[in-house]
Symmetry: C4
Subunit: 270 residues, 4 copies
């Protein structure tokens, strides 16, 4: 575990002693800011939700924004956390209440490099249904699989919680329900998607939403032919190999949306 509790990300990197690590981290921070803006521009997050990436050279740390709306995040807002979710350079800035979603998944899934938690609008409805029918209905969301798990906080913490994952025990329970899946739904709350890269996790978060929207519409039309288990495996391999195509478009869209958010400031400066 990281034992430093304050300092800037560059210093943390310097401490790691890895050759070229500073450049790697600078790129990670830039891409993490873009990921925040993409998730907002694609409607996966609104003012709430968060995305993290495992530190490029230190597997026992991860990077995530301070407590703020993803659409407004800049490079100065990125903070490093150890896997117990202690901020390493918060300098008094507030951090997300639910950072334990991220830390505990990174502990439980060493291959996971990025985590997206959201209240993605079409996914929340599937999370509140008894015996939820949610599963992959189209090839682009094949990673959803044939039986994605649902985490109900009542099962582990009883009735009367605020539904939030606010400590390590709840985070560990959520990671347990996630298991080896790509995405876990959270009853009355949202969902969490993971990936082996930041782009991968963002791709999955966006297409989890699209699968939910598609399945909801289909469910009103008749009996659905879902992807078979074999199809989900084959299609996940093919389609996720194309995820850079989406990233490149979404990055441009996100820059446009972010610019419009800053329009007032830009006009004032003219």
């Amino acid at each position: 575990m990281c034992d430093k509790s304050h300092g800037d990300i560059a210093q943390i990197v310097a401490d790691s002693g890895a050759v070229g690590a500073d450049l790697l981290i600078a790129e990670q921070v830039t891409e993490l800011v873009t990921a925040n803006h993409i998730l907002y521009a694609q409607g996966v997050v609104d003012a709430f939700g968060h995305v993290s990436v495992r530190h490029a050279t230190r597997g026992d740390c991860f990077l995530m924004a301070r407590n703020m709306a993803p659409g407004l995040v800049t490079e100065q807002d990125i903070i490093a956390f150890d896997l117990d979710c202690r901020p390493m350079n918060a300098d008094g800035r507030s951090v997300y209440l639910e950072r334990f979603i991220h830390g505990e998944i990174y502990k439980a899934r060493p291959e996971v490099m990025a985590v997206v938690h959201s209240h993605s609008p079409s996914v929340v409805p599937f999370g509140v249904i008894k015996q939820s029918p949610f599963r992959a209905v189209c090839h682009m969301a094949a990673f959803v699989g044939v039986q994605p798990p649902i985490f109900d906080i009542r099962d582990v913490a009883g009735d009367g919680t605020d539904l939030l994952i606010t400590d390590q025990a709840l985070g560990a329970a959520l990671a347990g329900t996630l298991g080896t899946n790509a995405v876990v739904l959270m009853r009355g709350h949202g969902s969490t998607a993971v990936g082996d890269s930041l782009r991968h996790a963002v791709f999955r978060a966006v297409y989890t939403e699209i699968n939910a929207r598609t399945q909801a519409q289909a469910s009103q039309l008749g009996e659905i032919i879902f992807l078979s288990e074999a199809e989900t495996r084959a299609a996940a391999l093919s389609t996720e190999g194309q995820s850079d195509r989406a990233w490149n478009l979404w990055k441009r869209t996100a820059q446009s949306v972010h610019l419009s958010l800053l329009q007032q400031a830009l006009l004032t400066e003219q």
Copy 2:
């Protein structure tokens, strides 16, 4: 009750004699304009609907725009009203027909500091259903509770009304149905949300809409697991404590939308 019937807001403040009141009111007016723009940008109001805030230093007055679309409101359009809804500085400008929604709620609920009335598109459908199923389905809208009330004007004024709250008696009846709740649905008309600050009321108005959209979608998928009463209490406390995060994002979005509404004027001036 305020006995002045005309004059500007600054004068009303000066009359109140409170130290620093003029600054407080200037801030309230600015924030009320922002609230108008946020509610439009978030799709809670269109050309209709209105938002008010209780006067910062005089609890027997409230501030609200003149009769106009919220998306176009500027600081010059804000008018002070007494709790009987007599405008104090209208100077002949027309005022909202339904201002009695606001005045009567401020009378009945001394702790309420802001009121939003809207025809929020996903909420209207829940208001026209016999034995409406509306209740909190996700943590962000926990304040909706387990049985939000519905006001049917037919119950108090009989058939044949125009459905509008156009006098004190109707306003008082609506406030009675609202009771101690955060939100009241109005049959064939819309809904009204209250809060202990302007940001709080705006947050609730936005998430009432989101809860309705989420519940409507979920209701097509199977039997819903709603938030329990204990969960609504705990989650309302947690999530409403984070409402500034939303306000900061929505303010930027609202500025962007408001700018685009003024784009023609800006271009003409160049």
Copy 3:
């Protein structure tokens, strides 16, 4: 009927001999262009649909754009038609195939001053349902009434038509089905709304769409309490009296949307 078949609108006005008529018509043309842009910006029309206004000083003529997408209409595109739908100043420009919707309604309803025909997206579904349940569900759309008529072209022209109102006989049949109502649905096609002013007809076209969207959503939630006949009469009177509030907002939105359509041209000119 007008007997001129070519010439510009100013000349037609001069011929009418009415004092001040040229100014009146200039205002009508400007407002008609705005109406086109509003209907596009509000999603009532896309590339198809059209809006007309009865000539301010000659009740036997009406103004409408040449055959083009409403969102792109400029003042130069407005053409005058007689009530048999012969263009008076087309100068070879193509005109809408379905102009007979307008001419025949103006003949049948002397008090109607404006007509909007659209494929408004939420209204088309209600037009294709046997025993369609469409009726006023909220106060803003009270003018929809309790049993708006549906025109099925099969009833008057048999199977195998192209569903379009392409001659006077079909226009007259549609006007007959409209009767004294504010709006008529057209099976497999769209709808047509009328008003006693351009703003009134635009208001009704927009709120017909909103009523359809609201009713469709409500119909999934349970049994609906519709506006009673007495309520539709009272509420139509109150809400339509506020239609300028909507027009003022929509005009600004429309200017913004129209500007963005012209953005490429503006950039090129810089």
Copy 4:
């Protein structure tokens, strides 16, 4: 079949020896770029999907973008392919995995001049339904017909595929299912529309989506009166004759959307 495997489009044209061919092709390339942007701006494609046009002077070739998001395509990204889908001037650039959809349809349907493949959001749900009810519900989408075919890759390649059309055999099977129709749905995947010009195919792709959205909404309201077979024939003829009206609007919208995607770059250059 074309036997050149590399070189630029101009050279391919020069080789064709047709008088004026270079101008024709330059226009085709420009219009193909616009078609890409229109399909993105209208929501028919997102990062995925592709559009092609048969070469203006060589019927045994077609033009399509390299492997990238349609919304970002420029003239430099257009590549010529022979009908076996070998790129003629890729110069190492990656090409769409599913180009065989295009090549095999051009082989099977000599009159088809353009092909659009998409995951159009409202169409995918109709493709996953057993005994899908999809058919023309409104006049603008009359070309959909009364029983558009659905291609299920399981029927020709068994369980366990990635659902993609990645070789000539699968492309030929899809073309077989398309038959003489305007559009074919693809189970768990999307749909493909064809036309006798690029504008025609784009028109059909957009209105296939609109028909799906309309039918889905109508199906929740009651029993639908669909267009009869005779009506689909008559209405397709009338409405598709008006498709330039839509193209002209969509082109402007697409330019505006494309500009906003490039906004960041434009600002940087100032």
